[in-house]
C-alpha cells in the first residue's frame, strides 16, 4: 500500500444558502469520502460554509491563461453587448 500517491482534490464551499459554491483550495485524500471529511476539517473550522463539494483535480478541465488572448478575445471588441453602449435620454429614468 502506498501512502505517497494520494490523489489531489479541489474543494468548493457554499458559504450560505443561495450562494454559489466557491473554490477555496485543495487537499490530498485516498478517496472522495475521505476528501469530504478532510475538507470539512481543514476548510470549515469556523463555520465558513454549509455545504462542500470535492472534485478530483484531474477531472477539472481548465483553459490556459497564456492562451487567454486567443481564447477570450472575440468578446473584447463588442461594446454593444453592454447596456451602457445605448445612452438613455434623460427623460427616461425607469429602464
Amino acid at each position: 500500500m502506498t501512502t505517497e500517491k494520494l490523489e489531489l482534490f479541489e474543494v468548493f464551499v457554499r458559504p450560505k444558502r443561495g450562494l454559489d459554491h466557491k473554490h477555496v483550495g485543495s487537499l490530498h485524500a485516498e478517496d472522495k469520502e475521505q476528501a469530504l471529511e478532510y475538507a470539512r476539517d481543514v476548510y470549515t473550522r469556523r463555520t465558513e460554509g454549509i455545504s462542500i463539494w470535492v472534485v478530483k483535480s484531474g477531472d477539472i478541465c481548465a483553459s490556459q491563461e497564456d492562451d487567454r488572448e486567443s481564447f477570450f478575445d472575440p468578446s473584447d471588441d463588442k461594446p454593444y453587448r453592454h447596456a451602457t453602449y445605448y445612452p438613455l435620454p434623460k427623460e427616461i429614468s425607469n429602464m
Binding site: R14, R17, G18, D20, S51, K78, Y80, R81, H82, A83, Y85, Y86, L88, P89, E91, I92, S93, N94, M95
Partner: protein
C-alpha cells in the same frame, strides 16, 4: 415502514420544508422537496427555457435583413444571448431530475408550453425595436422578481440572465427612438409595431391571478415572488413615459392615472386571444415548432460525429495503454 408512518414522515418533512421557505432559505438540488414543488418548478423552468430558445426565431428572422452591419451585429449578439439563457435554464432544470431530451420532447410534442408572444410574426424592422423594448422589458420585470425565487439554481440563473438582459431592452428602445424621431414613414412603422406588440407583451405576465392555476401554490412556495397582475401593473406603469418620450400614441385608449391606487388603470386584455394562442392557434405556433424540429434533426449529424469521435479517442487511449 407502514404506509401510515410513511405519510406522517412525509408530512413532517413538508412542514420543515415550508418553514425553510418562510425563513427565506433557498432550496438546493439535493434537499428534500415535495413532489408538487419539484413538478411545479420543472414546469415553470422548462417553459422559461423553451421561451428563450423559441424566442430566437422571430428575431433571427431579421438578422439577414437588419438595415446596417452594426444593427446586424447587435441583433446577432442578442439572439446569441437568448440561446445562452436557454442553456442556463435547461441545465438548472436538469438539477431537478429531468433530462434535456425529455424536455425537448415535451416542447416538440406540445405538452410543454412557451411564452405565447413568440407566436406572433415579426413583419417589419420596427418589430425588432418593439420586441427588445417591450417583450424583453416584460421578461426583465418578471426575471428581476425571480432573482428571489426559492430554488437556488433558478435564482442564480436569473441573476446571471438579468445582467445580460440589460442591453436587450435598451437596443430595442434605441431602434424605436430612431424610427419614432425619423421620417413620417418610419414613425408610422414604429407606431404599428407598438400597436401590435403592446397587448401581447402584457399577456406575457399570464392570466389574472384569480384565473391562474398554479399561482397560489407558487406564491406559497416562493417559486413566484410577485403575482401576475402586480408584475403586469408595474410594467404598464413604467411603459407610459417611455411611449410619451417616443411621441407615439398609447395603444390603450382607456389608460388613465388613478390617484388613489397610485397606478394607471387600463383596459382588460383580450383573454380569448391569449388562450387561443396558448392553445396552438396563433399565427406562428406550427411554424415555430416545425422549425425547432427541423433544426434539431439537421443537427443530428453533429451529435453523431461527436459521439463517433469520442469513441475513436477512447479506442486510441485503450490501445496506447495496452
Amino acid at each position: 415502514m407502514s404506509d401510515h408512518t410513511k405519510l406522517e414522515v412525509e408530512h413532517e418533512l413538508e412542514i420543515a420544508f415550508q418553514a425553510k421557505i418562510d425563513d427565506e432559505q433557498k432550496v438546493e438540488p439535493k434537499d428534500w422537496m415535495p413532489e408538487g414543488y419539484r413538478k411545479n418548478l420543472i414546469r415553470q423552468m422548462s417553459q422559461h427555457a423553451h421561451s428563450e430558445v423559441i424566442g430566437m426565431q422571430p428575431e433571427g428572422n431579421w438578422i439577414t435583413r437588419a438595415p446596417s452591419l452594426r444593427r446586424k451585429a447587435v441583433l446577432l449578439a442578442k439572439v446569441q444571448d437568448e440561446a445562452g439563457h436557454g442553456l442556463y435554464l435547461y441545465s438548472a432544470t436538469e438539477t431537478l431530475g429531468i433530462s434535456r431530451s425529455q424536455m425537448i420532447e415535451a416542447l416538440q410534442t406540445g405538452t410543454a408550453k412557451y411564452a405565447s408572444i413568440f407566436n406572433y410574426p415579426t413583419q417589419t424592422w420596427g418589430d425588432m425595436g418593439a420586441i427588445g423594448w417591450l417583450v424583453d422589458g416584460a421578461a426583465i420585470c418578471n426575471q428581476v422578481s425571480l432573482q428571489r425565487t426559492s430554488y437556488g439554481p433558478y435564482a442564480r440563473g436569473m441573476i446571471r440572465i438579468c445582467k445580460e438582459e440589460s442591453f436587450h431592452q435598451r437596443q430595442g428602445y434605441q431602434i424605436m427612438i430612431e424610427l419614432a424621431h425619423g421620417t413620417p414613414a418610419q414613425k408610422k412603422m414604429a407606431q404599428d409595431s407598438l400597436n401590435r406588440f403592446y397587448w401581447p407583451s402584457l399577456m406575457m405576465f399570464g392570466p389574472h391571478d384569480s384565473d391562474s392555476a398554479h399561482s397560489a401554490k407558487s406564491m406559497k412556495w416562493k417559486i413566484k415572488r410577485e403575482t401576475n397582475d402586480d408584475l403586469r401593473q408595474k410594467f404598464i406603469d413604467q411603459t407610459v413615459s417611455q411611449i410619451e418620450y417616443l411621441g407615439l400614441e398609447h395603444p390603450d385608449k382607456a389608460l388613465v392615472w388613478n390617484e388613489e391606487r397610485n397606478h394607471y388603470d387600463s383596459s382588460d386584455l383580450d383573454w380569448d386571444e391569449f388562450y387561443s394562442v396558448i392553445n396552438g392557434n396563433g399565427h406562428c405556433n406550427r411554424q415555430r415548432i416545425q422549425h425547432h424540429i427541423k433544426a434539431h434533426e439537421e443537427g443530428a449529424w453533429v451529435r453523431e460525429a461527436m459521439a463517433a469521435y469520442k469513441q475513436k479517442k477512447q479506442l486510441k487511449n485503450a490501445t496506447n495503454a495496452a
